[in-house]
Symmetry: none
């Protein structure tokens, strides 16, 4: 039984809509009501699960008639995906964001499953095994950026 927390359930709900549509547009309070959570939890879900690393673009508007719109972007349409990703990663990246990045590359066909797994293992917290978090995140960034740069020349 997975998804015991509400955030995961809301995530799945939104993604199920995105499976059929290019984008989803919601009213924050409606979704919050639907799942019986406070409105700001919707922001939490979006911030942790619909980032650009995950391949989503989010825009919103406040005030009357406000909305939140989530769009799935195909990174491959962009000629310089890799550049964009490298920029986003910068010089440090958490394991969670790294997972999102690798997952996106897999979904876009840049990496196959095995390659994606290899990268995740190589950059796993436990694999690196350093206790300094900043060092861990910067090593992870260097490894992933190094691989992305390699992929650019290779293809």
């Amino acid at each position: 039984m997975q998804s015991q927390n509400i955030s995961d359930i809301i995530e799945k709900y939104l993604k199920s809509i995105l499976a059929d549509a290019e984008h989803v547009e919601i009213r924050r309070s409606e979704i919050a009501d639907l799942f019986n959570v406070v409105p700001s939890q919707i922001n939490y879900v979006i911030k942790t699960r619909f980032t650009i690393q995950n391949g989503y673009l989010v825009e919103s508007k406040r005030g009357g008639g406000g909305y939140i719109r989530i769009e799935k972007v195909n990174l491959l349409d962009d000629a310089d995906v890799l550049d964009t990703l490298i920029q986003v990663i910068g010089d440090a990246i958490t394991q969670r964001d790294a997972y999102a990045v690798v997952q996106s590359l897999y979904e876009d066909g840049v990496l196959n499953r095995r390659e994606a797994q290899l990268i995740l293992v190589a950059t796993d917290r436990n694999t690196l095994g350093v206790d300094d978090h900043d060092l861990e995140n910067s090593l992870r960034a260097r490894i992933i950026v190094g691989i992305l740069n390699h992929l650019r020349y290779e293809s």
Copy 2:
């Protein structure tokens, strides 16, 4: 058959579930309650009895709705070879030796060209970019050993 300590009993309990299912997903505190032990004993059981060497993969999540998930995986035939390599590598390896290891894995067909390249990039001196040579060599070892451990099973 005097495996009467609680760790053994918990181990059997979890394995009896895994006999019928591909994986088990537990809430740590629930299992701890069930057997009247402190939660951290579950970690002990997992760490000592559900290792990758035994063919188990473990993943977990903290926070609300957290869980520990244990999956039984199929160990591959080359597992022995990989074990040997892992031993040889130990806790540090130079870039030169790493190259040799990866090269031989490629020649043995364990890795394809692209995968081999990925690993070499990930463990390259410049990628890691640490000044301390000992740290560099130990990181390289950890990454390669992590990947080798991953290669021991399928999917």
